[in-house]
Amino acid sequence: MRCPAQRSRRAGWPPATWPRGPSIARRTCFGASPLDQRPPIAHASSRRANRPGWTSSSTRPRSTRRRSRDAGVDAGPKMTALELDGAYPANDYGSASAQLQLAWIIRAVHSPAQLFERLVEFFSDHFNVPLDGRNGSLLKVVEDREVIRPHAVGRLADLLVASAQSPAMLLYLDNARSFANNINENYARELLELHTVGVDGGYTEDDVVATARLLTGWTINPQTFTFEFRQARHDTGPITIMGWERPSGSDYQHHGEQFLTWLARREATARFVCTKLARRFVADRPSSGLVDAMVQAWSANDTAIDPVIRAMVGHADFGAAVGTKFSRPLDHLAFALRVSATTVGATTDRNQLKGLGQVLAGLGQLPFGWAAPNGYPDVEGAWLNAGALLGRWNLVGDALSGASPVVSADVASLGDGLAGGTDAEIYDGLCRRVIGQSITPGGRAVLREATGWPEDSVPGNAAFAAGIAPAVLALLTSSDAQYR
């Protein structure tokens, strides 16, 4: 089992001069970790956010120089579709899927480029293709690496074209079998409704059919499982979609790419995608002021994502919203693992992968596990219910208690530097490390119940050591910990 290189914890973490840092880190990152070599985005001041290239340092994956540190981070099978097809015989593709899901967790927990991983997650949802069936799963492994990750902080226009030409998407939404005089509307409809202008974006049923016609012949090469434009199956006739007209000439594949770029540049697309970004990163109902600022950045930068994120993080709403959004299950899992200095290791061992799957089964959300093309919902009403809370309490308990050999927690390390203090001081220290704020009297009562330490005492070494894990678990299962 390969683990990312162990990094030593920074002394005195978190710094006293780092107000709300751990909380804001649950927005731009998956949470702050004592293993971070430098603080994640701590001060989302507009001054800092407007510095050119600011998000690039947290959004671009590290260069190859850092490969040794990132060894465990860039996890997941690296094979081409053809190689995967050979490596995973007919019914045995489950471990390829599981490796991609494990890679998601490793990246969320260990990647230094946290904001980048957040954006990969967002666009994986936005252009949702689930791990479903053999061909779908193997092609999704390739899509994650070759489509979403290379474009998640580029221009949306480029990501859109890459998604439209992705074999995984061509298969999932049936465009690979849409041909002239025998069109299949599935992809064309979801392209307009879910990926670009949205259901109120002003397209008609005729536009759906026209879009499907324009993209006929965009299919999958049956030998290499890569994108192929098959002109013989393409509808070359005149096409008008929402006022866009097919240009003259016979560069038919390029016509489709031009349309997609035109679509990406539409204000309706900007508004639709920026609203979703704001919902993911800021609030269930983002303000129009925030979305307007993001749309402006989108249009001024020809659909580039980086300026849009900067505009979002630099907006006053961003900081004000911290602590108010109910986290999704995977948000919560990644946060719990990061904050508890847990190491997640890559493995190809089928039994370990299956075991991890069983641990995650009660979570209610698996990476790339949403069957419909709209991706996982992102509002509180979709996720907050009694059964879901129970599931995540148990999951965090399991994850930190060695339920899976690929997940090894070091919960005791959260108590570093706190031994010798009073019970109240220890509670406060732990609360600041996990939740990011000082503890309340009510919170102290909960931790007292969890640890059994007498009130107003200095726990002895043995009692201290025994109480850290229950205290951390109590903090991670609290209602405060469920909000980011």
């Binding site: 599935n186 602590g323 108010t324 979570l363 209610g364």
Partner: protein, 409 residues
Amino acid sequence: MSMRIQRRSILKGGAAAGAAMAVGAVGGPAFAASALPSVGTAGARAGRRQGAGRLVVVFLRGGQDHLSTVVPYTDARYHDARGDIAVPEGSVLDLDGRFGLHPSLGGLHALYDQDRLSVVVATGNAAGNRSHFLAQDLCEYGDEAVPADGQGWLGRHLLGTAGESDSPFRAMSIANNVAASLRGYPALGLASIQRFGLGGLTGATESMRSTLDLAYFGNGLAESFGRQALEAVDEVSALPGSSQVDPVARGFADLAVLMEADLGVEVATVDIGHWDTHAGMGAHDNGQMADLLAGLDGSLAGFQADLDQRGLTDVTTVVMTEFGRRVVRNGSGGTDHGWGSAAFVMGGAATGGVFGDWPGLDPADIGPRGDVPVTTDHRDVLGDVVSATLGADPATVFPGHAYQPVGVA
């Protein structure tokens, strides 16, 4: 079986007011906690409302094809339109001489013969909509648009009658997350009885009951749901849960157990996916549609048999989908998004028979894109069902809709 801990004595032990662990933490719910009925609080539970039946709503996600399920087999236009994916006349399970069920639906057909299955043709949303997500929303909110208060049609009924029961099991979704039709009411998401306990795989949380009781004291929305979870695990821990791997089979098996246990279950929702058959529907006796329908038949008829065996005669199941599919087969051997769909009411209050006006499949009837129209609004089918099973007034459950009885229940 865990001991029920007296929550009050722990509170007396010294917890200060307020639930927040951390200073400055904001619980930020979308709507005020005071809007919720108190569910699962200590004190005698009112139990199920007297004389009311119980309702299960099964939602087929993706747009189930009407014409493959409830087949207008005497219409030559059907066979022409569907070609090699049509169900041949000789293969249907006849209902009333006009329609037959797909041959995979033998269990449901047997229930029909016993007058325990109502079949509705050409039903759906009043306004056609080819978006899965908007069409599902319209079904689940029971309205022409998503309402501002975000209440689902079942949520509306439950909220309006909230004083009559405070069982945490009154409304449930057999899933990790709660269906939109229940929004507005604190429904319980329970995917599996076996996993619905405090402890997980390692037992790490088993001993956390008292800690969680303290942590989830307070008025916030999360606190309220946390308490509901802790209340519910006690009741569920003694029940025999299913070990089946298939989530749908397991869900129905667990639901029957929950219905039989005296927990106060009134309404439950179940989702079944994979109905978005854009391609490769296959022949009537071999392929995707035949398999999907065989699975559905096994689930529904199996569930009814389970209820019958347990003597649960007051449970009615309604089966619906967000839209049906186009009349004409597409270029990939499948069908695209349509409009009119079929619905079923099974067991309990179902009257039995075929209901709804069938417009026929003439070009003039199916429009330029070839849709089965809707001649019976979903809300009339559901209106029949909620008044017969829950004693609800359809005008309250579907405000703004003029209810017209169909007769399915």
